[in-house]
Symmetry: C2
Subunit: 695 residues, 2 copies
Amino acid sequence: MEKLFLLGFLGAVIALAFAMLQRHRVLSVSEGNERMKKIAEAIRAGANAYLKQQYTTVFKVFAVVFVLLLVIAFGSGGKMLSKVTPFAFLTGGIFSMLAGFIGMKIATSANARTAQAASESLNRGLRVAFSSGSVMGFSVVGLGMLDITMWFFILRYGLGMTEPTQIGSIMVMNGMGASFMALFARVGGGIYTKAADVGADLVGKVEAGIPEDDPRNPATIADNVGDNVGDVAGMGADLYESYVGSILATFSLGAIAGFGFRGMLLPLLLGVCGIICSILGSFLVRTKENASQEALLKSLRTGTYTAAILAAVLAAPLTYFTIGSWGVYISILSGLLGGCVIGYFTEYYTSDTYKPTQRLAAASETGSATIIIAGLSLGLRSTMISILIVAVAVLVSFFAAGGMQSFNCGLYGIGIAGVGMLSTLGITLATDAYGPVADNAGGIAQMADLPEEVRERTDALDSLGNTTAATGKGFAIGSASLTALALLVSYVDIVQSKTEEVLDLSLTNPLMLVGLFIGALLTFLFSSLTMDAVQKAAQSIVMEVRRQFREIAGILDYQADPEYARCVALCTKGALHEMIAPALIAIIVPLITGLLLGPVGVVGMLGGVSVSGFALAVFMSNAGGAWDNAKKYIESGHHGGKGSEQHKAAVVGDTVGDPLKDTAGPSLNILIKLCSTVSIVFSGLILYFNLVNLL
Amino acid sequence: MEKLFLLGFLGAVIALAFAMLQRHRVLSVSEGNERMKKIAEAIRAGANAYLKQQYTTVFKVFAVVFVLLLVIAFGSGGKMLSKVTPFAFLTGGIFSMLAGFIGMKIATSANARTAQAASESLNRGLRVAFSSGSVMGFSVVGLGMLDITMWFFILRYGLGMTEPTQIGSIMVMNGMGASFMALFARVGGGIYTKAADVGADLVGKVEAGIPEDDPRNPATIADNVGDNVGDVAGMGADLYESYVGSILATFSLGAIAGFGFRGMLLPLLLGVCGIICSILGSFLVRTKENASQEALLKSLRTGTYTAAILAAVLAAPLTYFTIGSWGVYISILSGLLGGCVIGYFTEYYTSDTYKPTQRLAAASETGSATIIIAGLSLGLRSTMISILIVAVAVLVSFFAAGGMQSFNCGLYGIGIAGVGMLSTLGITLATDAYGPVADNAGGIAQMADLPEEVRERTDALDSLGNTTAATGKGFAIGSASLTALALLVSYVDIVQSKTEEVLDLSLTNPLMLVGLFIGALLTFLFSSLTMDAVQKAAQSIVMEVRRQFREIAGILDYQADPEYARCVALCTKGALHEMIAPALIAIIVPLITGLLLGPVGVVGMLGGVSVSGFALAVFMSNAGGAWDNAKKYIESGHHGGKGSEQHKAAVVGDTVGDPLKDTAGPSLNILIKLCSTVSIVFSGLILYFNLVNLL
């Protein structure tokens, strides 16, 4: 049976090989004329410089945590923490970093190439951008599969462990490194991209009145770098973490439910199967020349839906072969379907082809205050559907897989539903990661003064990217909530296995209630810190751009070049400086909660973080997405069109939404899971040292 | 022992007599010249008309719920619901309504009188406004004490019940009527006041460029009516509900903890003692002529702090006499102190004498988008302190009163902490309710063209009102969270007493987790609905004011009078129409949750509502308060002062904050408790009919 885990390596090899193939495909396209090459090189250099410094900073923090883990693990002789965990923490972090780095590398190579290909035809542009997205999509799942399978074999054969529960409880801690890295990447990248964006817009668009991506804007290169370090590298690390986290949480639940290694084999095989289905689906992503926006969207949808349907069909024999339970199969289906429905409703609330965003645009008629209120209200309301879908998915997967009678099997159902939701991540991430590439291509087309029609084509690709990004965010957050619940259950089981005292996890226990409150506090505080960080970093860009316009004569008349590098350096400095505090509180608050309130308080905190983090993240993502598209809707000629008072009001809405949807919102996703894995890793320590023990 | 409950009547009589005395004092002052009388009469008429219609609408809803309760109670022969509850539902609603009505009556009589008194001296203005606030403050506590004592005697002697647990579990349901009425009053009043305010500001201030409270603005009377129906009548009903709810929840917990009638006597006596201390404290509220803002604040603080300290001292013998536990005394102190600390930090985050609001004002330098982001961030961050204080209060009161060993005594500690926090409500509410009166007085001074110095004095009183209002909100929300936890515990006990099956309330139970999510959903959806309601109602006022400026020639040149009554009627219509949906979901969601997920799901939902409702309410109140004061800070000459671009940005912030701080935020307070009492009232029904039973 355990030998079948070798299939994990096979899946990893297939995914990584396919990613290399796609990379080759991208690089074989010309990068265009000299000017395009020069711009692309500047973006590449900026992104590389940022990532290098980010990794240097993160390395230091990782080193400290690594030593701390070593001390706990070896100091307690493995009692409080497995001696394996410090090393798994490192590999998780490195693989997550690699996933983001590979994505960023290819994206910064593909942007000019996409612009060049789009100058030949829309279909070619789409193919190049999508191939670039595929490199990241398949690298993420390939690396994830590799990490998981590798550690399984190290534990099972290298260290000779034979107990599934032991392996499960150790492996679930491996997610911490990936989550921690992902949080840095998301928060740092998110601050960078939005600081540059807000800075460029506020001075360039609003004050100087020059268009977006105008080469005269000193922050324009930084803005394009931001797309790569935030939307690509950040997202890659983020989804690597989600993917690995959902599988590992299910490993642990499978062992608890008594499924033995079969319970671990199923999520692994679902992943391998998803990789193959995603590759098949990606062959279907192509379009005719001069295709409409709808046709473009249809081609992407055909790819992802085909992959999902194939995966749903293949999951049946896999489940039957491993677990032999049709109930668990229903759990998988509920996850897959739930993901698609959340994706649809995310689009419904944020796309200007539907009522909510159109009505939001109409609120611009009475000024910026009313469009802000309406957007906040839209975001708050939109949480309803996402929460209901997750609630239904939880209940269906729980009752189908076991229910109250076979409680632990039911919990396994919740975990496997999360894996089902992410099984075709290869292709959904490809459609998601292609967006920033198209966005960058548009910027290069504008800066290199390519013909109008090229910009129109890249705009069509970009606009589509906004929709797929919304869908992708829906998936990410839906799976995050399921995984968080799975991790919460794992935490309880791991703690309970280490102590003879039965924990009172009832909601009427004041420690539990206070924990819930602390969880909510953490998500609110975290959101505030990330938003503040964007604000501060953006402020410095605004000052710098104003300074350049003032001090460098002739920028606006094309007589002098702006100093792009200064803005790039400022964004880098700001993002690195501001990312530390939010990332650290995600580790410190769970630790302090544990030390003061003990394991019961920690469980409450995890519940509070999951619930309020999920609701806040959906609220922020959807409000931000809707403001963005309401602005685009007005720009396309409604409510007075570009330059009108209504448009100005909508720009305010969009600017407010930026840090919500691209920094705070997606980071909450990671926070939810990081809190869980941190709590699991330190559970041994907390059990021995906590204030409640003394009372 | 039970005879001592007669002291409740004594407390009620003292409070109501003192209220009447203060009323007499207010009415003995002259209402000023003819013009002032005319304006006051218009405001009075508008407020009366609104309340009349509101009560008519609410009456219909109450009739439906009353019949529903009758059917359940008598249909099941009292098994699913006590036959007393439908009638207690009515009295709770009526008393809550009365509390708001009395407050509104006196406020609309005191506004012109305050303006007139202020034209004589600042001290006289303060005395009249504060006396008016006292009428409401002491009516609220007097009526509350009357309702509670009355029902105790009906149950104990009228129906001859001898079991404390039986009386406790019936009386805790009496809160539902008050909560339901309070929700209508808060939501309806909140929509009214903010629709009028936003409407008046957007067209009057921003478009037509005329000052606030200018008689040429057609919405100005509606705006002043709004202060009365929202900030006075709404708040009165709200705090009546908080006061009664905290005492009744503690009654129930006292019985559960085995303290018998002594456990109920303590909160009752604390209330009576608080009334007497509040009266003593209110004698200290007076100031010198031409006192500074600080001196005014100091005089109010002297009154409230003296009352609190007196109550803290007197609580010691009371606790010793009734319960004989110094631990419970510490619980009471932790509540009293917690309330004061929350009040202080609410002021810290929202007053322009402290850094946070000053920094917020500075964010106006880069436009409205940045001040919005900074305000959202400030609000999110400010939740930390309030949550921590409540968390500490919960833990201290729980462990002091019993802890894990005497679990139920510990829970009683949490309940009594909430009572402690509200014990001196008479005076804190008086300082709170005096604000809108001063605000109205300023409006009348402006409209009646009184000398500049009168307006300056009323402005000083009004500005102080903003600070006391912030403190009052802190108290209200802190006590709401403690009461909600107490009600949650009561719910569990009541359900558990009716069934032999032991409920699995562990957080790892998926029904519990889904319940938590539903709870968060409810608070987000509710906030969205109330904000939308303000938006819609405000939109109609904007259209109407624009129409009047357009169609009635000569308004702006003082040649023609605007049609004030049209705006008043529109606000009334809008508020009544829009208040129904948010109020109903507060009843329907708990019911549906129970029918689908059973009692365990309900407990989860109550936890979710309490936690995310508390965090959202603090976020909204503080963000709104800070934007309001940041605007005032700029108006006082900072960052360019009145009329600058920075000021315009700050006005956008203030407008966004209005529905957050005066409609959605305070309504969440009530929602939290209404969900609990609704769940308790329908607990019998839910236990027999729910889907989970079938699985």
